[in-house]
Symmetry: C2
Subunit: 219 residues, 2 copies
């Protein structure tokens, strides 16, 4: 079975929303895909015909096993291409998302298997998100945020909360990336901001909003 770019984008968006929200609604999807609710309804009917999801009018939508499989194969392609763009073509991590959005729709399965081998079977993309294997299996990712980390507990950055370029650019400027070791020196009750220490660097202050969007693994 072969799917259009629009169809693949819907499946991917539904998968993403399904992670936090068991039942995905028409309006959520319209917002996520920058389109109108009426368009979403149309497409949901088509995808339901194709057995990629179960659609209950007025009550939202859920991916079938086939739908999940497709979603994971697209996510695999997206994240492998992101890894390629950063590791081989030297792109900054905040510049690769849009390009990978296009590359992920190239359909050859052999291309992806060879790309995976060429890259050395990476486990995670440049933002720390895990890369599903060819069977769709994926190791789940740390869900402790920097904000939740206890004071004086050394930790390593494993991911980010979202892929917005405003967030990624800010982190790059502050010299924080995947693998950065840090610890919280002080927490300010007033605004929830934290003072963190990175090896060899002066203390820096991160807002609560930012700390919530940095995923860490205690060491």
């Amino acid at each position: 079975m072969n799917f259009s770019i629009a169809e693949e984008n819907y499946i991917k968006a539904i998968w993403r929303l399904q992670q936090s929200d068991a039942n995905v609604t028409t309006n959520e999807l319209a917002a996520e895909l920058q389109t109108k609710p009426a368009s979403v309804t149309d497409m949901l009917k088509r995808l339901s015909e194709k057995k990629l999801l179960n659609y209950a009018p007025y009550y939202g939508v859920k991916l079938t096993a086939d739908g999940k499989k497709l979603a994971l194969s697209i996510i695999r392609k997206h994240r492998l291409w992101e890894y390629f763009l950063v590791e081989k073509l030297q792109f900054n991590w905040d510049a690769v998302h849009d390009i990978a959005e296009e590359l992920e729709h190239v359909s050859s399965p052999e291309l992806i298997e060879r790309l995976d081998a060429f890259l050395g079977y990476p486990k995670a993309d440049p933002h720390g998100d895990p890369i599903p294997d060819s069977k769709g299996r994926m190791t789940s990712i740390s869900n402790l945020t920097l904000q939740q980390l206890p004071e004086a507990q050394p930790a390593i950055v494993t991911g980010v909360g979202d892929q917005s370029s405003s967030l990624l650019e800010l982190l790059r400027q502050k010299n924080i990336g995947i693998g950065t070791k840090l610890e919280i020196k002080q927490r300010h009750a007033f605004d929830g901001s934290v003072e963190i220490k990175i090896r060899n660097q002066p203390l820096i202050n991160l807002s609560e909003q930012l700390a919530k969007n940095i995923l860490v693994k205690p060491q």
Copy 2:
């Protein structure tokens, strides 16, 4: 200006046909693109609106300067991706055309510049076709075929007549590729076939049809 995949494919096909045929006709295009003449007429009107070509009803079509520029940028992308697929991902040269057909429509100009640098600014794709530079400049390729090569004149293979997988597979099987050194030992008047010698290998016979589709440069 941004163009659809269908539009880009038309421009590319017109460019290709324009190489041999000054004026490209509706029927030729329909055959090349595996579509119907009526569909071609529709698209030619649209592309003419967009100033990519000059369209004279009933008399055929010619690319404008803008159209040529676009064609060369697509060809550049196609050939760089083919080079990547063969050199980095170890694909056989007869397996890369279809994948590159998809990759060539990914739009980021920065991606292509970085890919070019990553690959070491290659001059030709795996079939020996020259890769246009970012300005659209392209060194023209040898147009002497093996069939035209004098007997006992050593030469090096620089390209192939077309990209059909039947041709490429045959050449691969006979151990002939870009860069192969060979010379003609004997020419058979009866069927136009030639006996060629490749270093350290026994004589092999190539049909006239095949010899016409191998491009060579005398040494």
